[in-house]
């Protein structure tokens, strides 16, 4: 079936709504307010290196927590029998159907100084904790919002692992620790990689979670970009420069992750 022309409208769409806007970001990043070429915008991105480092650090911590907490759960669900397994995986997906603003708002209610957790602590006669507007709260929000994106690809690869491979390893004398390290873990690499990218990319570029749970003091890259386009610091040229750096950063990360994928077992990969 050769119907190349069927893709034509899509090719036009893609050119207008993907390629042109991306070019616009590049052009804006390299021009000043008067429209002349300048490197000033990119130079001023350097002033915000602490914001970049903070975003990458918090995103990396959240990703690591998601992996550490999500892997065992994905493993247990994959081990469970038919009906139970379907119910459990459905329960993992269900919160994803609720808008992430509402999910984040729910944590505001819990973490506030006069929130439910502190009320419970007071009730038990314990000292209250200051939780909202801290980096810990931001990481918690990231983990809560994105952990299903880690569990689902992990679950998907873990269910595809051929049980007879595990049994063969056991027959050949491997203990359970060895089976996990030599068989299960390497075979779940594609799931780990797609889980890590699916958590890390939105976590690094979020601006809602930091705004709602981090207060004003824990700015992330996303907040900076938002401020340049819709906020008080209106400066689309600088905003484009920051976006460009963020985009390149993410592409480099993806490149590195794909490299890992090639070294590991590629079978059953589910890159998004």
């Amino acid at each position: 079936m050769k119907m190349k022309s069927a893709a034509f409208p899509y090719l036009v769409w893609m050119a207008v709504f993907i390629i042109v806007p991306t070019m616009l970001v590049v052009i804006f990043a390299f021009t000043g307010r008067d429209g002349s070429f300048t490197l000033r915008n990119l130079e001023s991105v350097g002033q915000y290196s602490n914001v970049f480092l903070r975003s990458i650090w918090l995103g990396a911590v959240a990703t690591a927590v998601c992996l550490a907490a999500g892997y065992p759960l994905a493993y247990f669900i994959a081990q469970a029998g038919g009906r139970r397994r379907n119910v459990l995986i459905m329960l993992v997906m269900l919160p994803m159907w609720m808008n992430f603003l509402l999910r984040t708002y729910a944590w505001m209610t819990l973490l506030e100084d006069s929130g439910l957790i502190n009320r419970a602590l007071t009730f038990l006669g314990l000292p209250t904790l200051h939780m909202i507007n801290t980096q810990g709260a931001v990481v918690l929000g990231m983990v809560y919002n994105y952990i299903p994106y880690m569990i689902l690809p992990l679950y998907s690869v873990l269910t595809k692992i051929d049980k007879s491979v595990v049994e063969a390893a056991q027959d050949l004398g491997a203990d359970s620790r060895k089976v996990f390290l030599r068989i299960t873990l390497p075979m779940s690499m594609p799931g780990i990689i797609s889980g890590v990218t699916m958590v890390f990319v939105p976590a690094v570029s979020t601006f809602i979670i930091s705004r709602m749970l981090g207060g004003g003091s824990n700015l992330l890259i996303g907040d900076l970009i938002d401020m340049q386009f819709l906020g008080s610091a209106y400066n689309p040229n600088l905003g484009s420069a920051i976006s460009l750096v963020l985009m390149i950063l993410i592409l480099i990360c993806m490149g590195i992750m794909n490299q890992f994928d090639k070294n590991g077992a590629t079978e059953g990969g589910i890159m998004v």
């Binding site: 893709a7 804006f28 995986i89 919160p95 808008n99 992430f100 708002y105 970009i225």
Partner: protein
Amino acid sequence: MKTASRIYTFFIFLFLYAPIAVLVVFSFNGSETMSRSVWSGFSLRWYRLLFQDRMLLNSLRNTLVIAVVAAAVSTVLGTAAAIGIGGMNKWARRAVMDITNFPMVNPDIVTGVSLMLLFVAAARLLGNRSLGMLSLILAHITFCLPYVILSVMPKLRQMDPNLYEAAQDLGCAPVQAFFKVVLPEILPGVVTGMLMAFTLSIDDFVISYFTSGTTQTLPIFIYAMTRKRVSPEINALSTLLFGTIFALLMILNFRIAGNPGRRGRKAGEGADQ
């Protein structure tokens, strides 16, 4: 080991559902002081206030209009694109797929601001129009397209390529052959793509935020609500949305419960996305 894994699973699910449970419980709170975490008796007042909110109903309508149009257009464009891409040579196919994947890899906020730059420039060219429904619909179609293409392509690959030629040998015109032979074969992929486009469109906040001008969609309305310090109406809204989703999923689950094989595959497919 068995009990340890049960306890672990329980705690993860507690973590996932406790905040939602809190929202639901406090949506029935009758507190006069509008405090978020003091319980003072059962009441439906927040629900009543919610339904009197013009802005909310308006944003809900906008969201549904955008989602229906975006899902329909991206399904047609995306299905045609998948067919066309299948007929390309290796090099062209790779180039097109790389660009198709780009918006899915690119952070949403960057997609959002890049489209905003385009729409603002276009609006200025067309005589100081402002962003609104049209820019929202165009943006939503753009971010839905890759998902439609990626769910149709595997179905096309599974299809026997001789079927289309056989239909033509038996006297079908190309268009007829498409509707009678190809479309029924790839329909599951097309429907999955359309449903994904619809839900992604309803749920999107970040890209809408940058391309909406002053038009409000439901997520933008929710965002505006969370900016006010106290607004228990949000709890009522969350409860209604969560209840709707839960009911829909239950119905779907029961409908395909008679066919366990298919349901198993569905769960796997969901995980792949």
